[in-house]
Amino acid sequence: MNLDARITDAMARIDREPVPGGPLDPDALAARASTGATDGERANPGATTRPIRWLALAAAIVLVAGVAGLWLIRPDLRGVPAGTPTGTPAAPAASGWDAVAAHQWRLVAIHAGGAAQPPLPSRTPLTFTMNPGAHSDAGEPAALTYDGLNWVTYYIALGEGSAVILKPGPTTAIGTSDDPLTARTQLMARQFAAVRTYEVTGDSLVFGDESGPLLVYASMGPAPSDPYEAHNTPPPGTPAAPTVEVDIFSGRPNPVVTLDRAVAEQVFMMVADQRAAQESEPGEPELGTGFRGFLVTQADAFVPRMRILPHTIHVEDPAGPYTIRNSQYYQMVYDAVRPLLDADVVAALPPTDPPVVVPKASMPPLTGAPALWALAEPDAVGPTTTVLTLEVMRAECSGGVTGTVLEPTITFSDSEVLIRAAVEPLAGTAFDCRGNPVVRHTVTLPEPLGERTLMDAACLVAPHLRTSTCAQGATRWSPATGPVAPQDWPR
């Protein structure tokens, strides 16, 4: 008998084994769920030897019930306007496009070449908005998209003058030629471009064309009033925020900070993809003294702990630890946690490639929507300069609008001048990613520039740190090199 048959037979035989205690009592389970009390149904010896566990379970049930009750009766506490349908996931109560717009969605299948392909796992919710008369490039992608994790605006042309805009919220843009997501991203782009119909059935949303489904989504519950909120307020059932422990100290506690969910999702997805692509190898890291990695922990039974070193990620998979060689993981987590760590810890971290400049001057706070800037009259800048004319460009996707420039924030050290530009936040969330125009703005320095380096502070921190505009660094003028133009700056 072959192995398959032997296993099947063995599994069939387990069904003939008597189950001690027999079937469970649904009423007892329901009572336990309702009250959190220990039920009389549990007559097994294991229960009596674990009183603390059951006390903890009871406390957890009471706590969860309390939080859930508060969540249900106080929609204002979760940013959902009164009257918004609650319950997750719930069958869309509305019909047609209203049902699409009223819910958050999660991609569950991509149909391509006649077969459904599973997407990468993601809990990042997506929302869709209809924008009649919106700009549309005939269904061509306005930006790369992948399940809500890249910087996304996407049009699906559904009819004369109407377009669906996919807008998952602000995320970190990570896309390089060797990005393991690229192939799938391109597939997604092709599928979006082909979408001509949509249909909501139960808790499913299917975008398709004349020949059948192309993209299938499942409801994740009601859409928040502000799609950006979805990024920061994950749907009920999502595990607690992932944490990063900087494994660096001996004899005192390591610093632990929260990791941005979008970054964590990107890490988990890339690991899953590289693992599936057999780009991993079994083994554990050899750890010495000093920096022993970022330990990323997600309170989720199916996401193992990960140790991230500058050129590798080590996954503590219960089925066997494995390693993936890729420097991107370290860069991603480094960029995300660096602003949250003390300076002495940051100084002890291995540099990224390319290294991130850590200025002596304190980082100016962001006062509005983020913007990047370049010198409008670079040749006029020198040590005696006190008035600078900047070309300011909104950094976010905004449908080709930079808008009103706010007063930039300026900080000094003895060797640097940091200017952080900002623009007025725009109302609404559904914008395409056309290039934004530059707007001139004059800045007066409180003292002459002197022999100090002039830097765009936005290029020193995520998410713009590794964008093409900041690829040449944050410096816009230095006494040694003179003016430096940002890469890909519109002229």
Binding site: I14, G21, A33, P45, P118
Partner: protein, 171 residues
């Protein structure tokens, strides 16, 4: 309350528990190898699911969802008892079939022992695939992973079991 919901297309909580809780306990046993822990895991999973039972997907997806919760509860239990042996031969049920089927029973016993040596996740996928009879899509849903990952887990588990088979043949 006798029933958690009445939504069309979903097996009611009462009926589901009465009809399937024994089978779920057997599936859980294949993962945790202890009848008391298996019962605990299934109870934990069902108690957690009860408040949102009427929001579960219908049909086969309902089973996948319940299995996901049960497997999750099993893995949590295993994590909490790391100091205890996971594959305790004494915990295996004694063959209860008639002597006519003694060879087959011994063979089943051997397979269960081999499964006991697998890592918990691989044990779970074997239980879901061969006992719960879930598709790879549903196993992936149950484990919250990609279908390719689920296939990979099954493949690795089968490879390990096949190695035992080869070793057995060599003896």
């Amino acid at each position: 309350m006798a029933s958690a919901h009445t939504e069309e297309g979903i097996v009611p909580f009462d009926a589901y528990v009465r009809e399937r809780s024994e089978r779920l306990q057997r599936t859980a046993w294949l993962v945790v190898r202890d009848w008391h822990d298996a019962r605990d895991a299934v109870q934990d999973a069902l108690v957690a699911l009860y408040p949102r039972w009427d929001q579960l997907p219908a049909g086969d997806r309902q089973h996948a969802y319940v299995h996901r919760s049960v497997v999750n509860a099993c893995l949590t239990l295993l994590r909490h008892r790391r100091t205890r042996p996971v594959a305790d031969p004494d915990a295996l049920p004694e063959p209860t079939s008639t002597p006519d089927h003694a060879d087959a029973v011994t063979d089943a016993h051997t397979i269960w022992r081999w499964c006991a040596d697998l890592p918990p996740v691989q044990r779970a996928v074997i239980a879901l695939r061969y006992h719960a009879d879930l598709s790879y899509t549903d196993i992936a849903a149950a484990l919250d992973c990609r279908e390719a990952t689920a296939r990979s887990h099954v493949h690795r588990a089968l490879a390990a079991l096949r190695a035992n088979l080869t070793e057995e043949g060599a003896r």
